[in-house]
Symmetry: C2
Subunit: 356 residues, 2 copies
C-alpha cells in the first residue's frame, strides 16, 4: 500500500474500533465468574438498557447478530404461529428465513429492495398475526424504516401481537426507544454502532416480551439467560472481553449519545452529498445513517470501484442478494468524527472521479 494513505475500514460492520474498546481488549483475561467480571457485565447490561431505552431487560449472547435474531424468533413465537415479514433487502429476508426454519407460518410482504415499509402497507393485512418482524436499518440497501409508525399501524389491527425489530445497524447510530415506540423486542450486535469487534448479540426484551416468552432451544434459550443475567452471570461462558469492551464504549458514549447520533447523521449526509455531486444515484428511499448505498456508475463494475478505494487504503463493500454487482456501500458507523467524513468524501471523489 502507498505511504500516502492509511488504512480505513468503511464497511457497515465490522467497523473501526472505538479506542475504549481497544483499551478494554488489551486488559488481562478476566474469569467470567469473578466479582470484577460480574460488575463489568452488569455495567454493560445497564448501559445497553439505556441505549435501547427499555425498562425490560437486555440479554447479552455470545454469537453474531443472526444468533440474536434466531434466539428472538425461537423464544417469542411457537411453531405454527403466523408472523408478517415485509421483505425489502437481505436482512429482512433473513427474518423471513429464520421464521420459516422455526416452523412459523410466514406471510411475506414483498417490496422493491431500497424501498421502506409504509404504515399504509400495514393497513389491511389479512390477519390474525402473532407478530411483525421489522428491520430498522436495512443496511443491504441503506434504507431506514420508521418502526415507531409501523408498530402503531400494525397494533391498531393486532394489539396482542409482538413487534420485533432488527436494530443491528441502528442502535447507537439512529434514535431508538423500545417501549416508547411500541416495540416488544429488538436485537443489535457488537461490531456496529457499539464499535467493538464482532462476537456479541444484544437482545432487548420489553416487560411485555418477557411475560410472553415461549423458551426453546438449549444454547439460545432466553429463559436460561433471564434466570442469571440480572446477577451479572450468563448461562454459558460469555465473550467476557467483548462485554468489557461494550461497557467501556457505553461509558463514554451514553452521556453524549444525542450528539453522537447527530454526528452519524451529518457524516452520512456528507458522504451522500459527495456521491450525488459525482452523479451517483442513492439506492434507499429513506436514508439510514448507518451506511450510504449507491448504484454503480454506468459501465463500471463493483470490482473497479472496490479497487479504486483499496488503492487509497479504504475497504468498502458491495451489494448482497439481488443487489450484488449493482451497488457499493461506504459507511462511517465506526469510530470517526466530522472531519473524517470530509476526508472520506474527498477519497470518494478521487476514487470514483477516474472511473465514470
Amino acid at each position: 500500500m502507498s505511504a500516502m494513505y492509511r488504512s480505513r475500514l468503511l464497511t457497515p460492520g465490522p467497523v473501526e474500533l472505538h479506542p475504549k474498546a481497544q483499551e478494554a481488549l488489551s486488559r488481562p483475561q478476566l474469569h467470567h465468574r469473578s466479582e470484577t467480571a460480574k460488575k463489568v457485565f452488569l455495567q454493560a447490561k445497564a448501559g445497553l438498557e439505556a441505549a435501547f431505552r427499555t425498562k425490560g431487560q437486555v440479554l447479552l449472547l455470545t454469537g453474531s447478530g443472526t444468533a440474536g435474531m434466531d434466539a428472538l424468533v425461537h423464544n417469542l413465537f411457537a411453531p405454527g404461529e403466523r408472523v408478517l415479514v415485509p421483505v425489502h433487502g437481505n436482512f429482512s429476508e433473513r427474518w423471513a428465513k429464520i421464521a420459516q426454519q422455526a416452523g412459523l407460518r410466514v406471510e411475506r410482504m414483498e417490496l422493491e429492495w431500497g424501498r421502506v415499509v409504509r404504515p399504509e402497507h400495514l393497513e389491511s393485512p389479512s390477519g390474525p398475526f402473532a407478530g411483525l418482524l421489522l428491520t430498522h436499518s436495512e443496511s443491504s440497501t441503506g434504507a431506514l424504516n420508521d418502526v415507531q409508525a409501523l408498530a402503531r399501524a400494525f397494533k391498531a389491527h393486532f394489539p396482542e401481537a409482538l413487534v420485533v425489530v432488527d436494530a443491528i445497524t441502528s442502535l447507537c447510530v439512529s434514535p431508538f426507544a423500545l417501549e416508547d415506540w411500541g416495540l416488544d423486542a429488538a436485537v443489535a450486535g457488537s461490531q456496529k454502532g457499539l464499535m467493538c469487534p464482532p462476537g456479541l448479540a444484544y437482545l432487548a426484551l420489553s416487560p411485555r416480551a418477557i411475560e410472553r416468552l415461549k423458551p426453546r432451544g438449549f444454547y439460545l434459550n432466553l429463559a436460561s439467560e433471564l434466570k442469571v443475567q440480572s446477577t451479572g452471570e450468563s448461562a454459558w461462558t460469555p465473550a467476557i472481553n467483548l462485554v468489557a469492551a461494550t461497557a467501556a464504549v457505553l461509558e463514554e458514549l451514553l452521556p453524549r449519545l444525542e450528539e453522537h447520533l447527530a454526528l452519524k447523521q451529518a457524516q452520512n449526509q456528507i458522504l451522500y452529498a459527495a456521491g450525488q455531486e459525482l452523479g451517483l444515484k442513492p439506492v434507499p428511499e429513506v436514508k439510514s445513517p448507518a451506511t450510504t448505498c449507491f448504484y454503480l456508475p454506468q459501465g463500471v463494475s463493483y470490482a473497479q470501484v472496490k479497487e479504486a478505494f483499496a488503492k487509497r487504503g479504504a475497504t468498502i463493500i458491495g451489494g448482497q442478494g439481488q443487489l450484488k454487482g449493482k451497488v457499493f456501500r461506504v459507511s462511517l458507523m465506526g469510530y470517526s468524527d466530522l472531519y473524517d467524513a470530509y476526508a472520506v468524501a474527498q477519497l470518494m471523489r478521487e476514487a470514483l472521479g477516474g472511473l465514470g
Copy 2:
C-alpha cells in the same frame, strides 16, 4: 492487592492469554469478507484440523463451547434417536441435558463424580444406539477418560453409531486424534488449551460425520457452515478477531505440540504433588492435565480457600453441581511454563498451609 504478588488466573478456562493471542487482538479491525480475513480464517481452520488430527473438517462457530456441543447434537442426531451418555460430572451432565432438549432418547449411565468411564462399562449396554456422547477431560472433577478405548469398546457392539467427544479442556492440553481413535466428532473452545479469550467453538467432523450430517436449526446449522468455511468465509459474521488469535497461537504451538503436551502433564503433576504433600485428597480417578481438583481440607470452607489464594493474587475456582462447596480447582492450562508450576506450587503451600 499487595505489591508482593502479581495477578494469576489459575482457572480451567478462561486462562492466561498466549502473547500471540494478545498481539493478534491488538491489530486493527479486519472485515471478515476481506482477502486478509479469509486467509487468516483458513490458517486457523487448517491449524485446528492438525490439532484435532482430522482429515475431515473443523468448523469455527461464534459462541461458547456449549454452543458447539448443542450444534453437534442437533446436527448429528435426529429426534427420537437413542444415545448413550455416561454421566460423571458437570460437563457429561450437560451432554445429557442437550440431548434431552434435542428430542433424543437419552440412556444415562450414572457413575460417581470423579470416576472415569471404563471400557467394561460399555460391554453389555442394551442397544441399539445411534451414538455415544463422551467427555474427554471432565474438568468439573479433573478426570480424563480414555476415549480411544471407549470408542473401540462401544463400536464393537454398535459399529454404525457415532462417537462424539467433548474435547473442550483437552485439545492442545492432552493428546488427541479424531479418526485414529475411532471418534466421529469433537468440540473445543478458544478459552482453554488455545489460550485465547472465550467466544469461539471449534467443531471437528470426521469424513464419516460429514456424510452422516442431519442438519437442524438456523444459526447453529452445520450444513450452512460446511458450504462456505472451506473458502475462508462463514455463514454468519464470525468473531474474526478471535479467529486471528487462534491462527497466531497455533502457528507457534503446532510445531512444538508434543513438548507443550508434556509441559501441561508435568505442570499438573507438580501441582498434584504439592497438594498431596499438604495432605489434600485428589478427586479424579485418572488425572486430566487440564486442571487439578482436590477435596477441601477437613473443616475448611471453599470461601476460605478462595480468599487464601486471592490474598496472594491468584484466582481459582470451586466445585460445580454436586461438588459445589466440596472441592477446589487450580489449573495451569493457560500460558505458563515449568517454573510457573513451581511458583504456583509454593503459592498453594502458603495459601493452604495457614488453613488446615
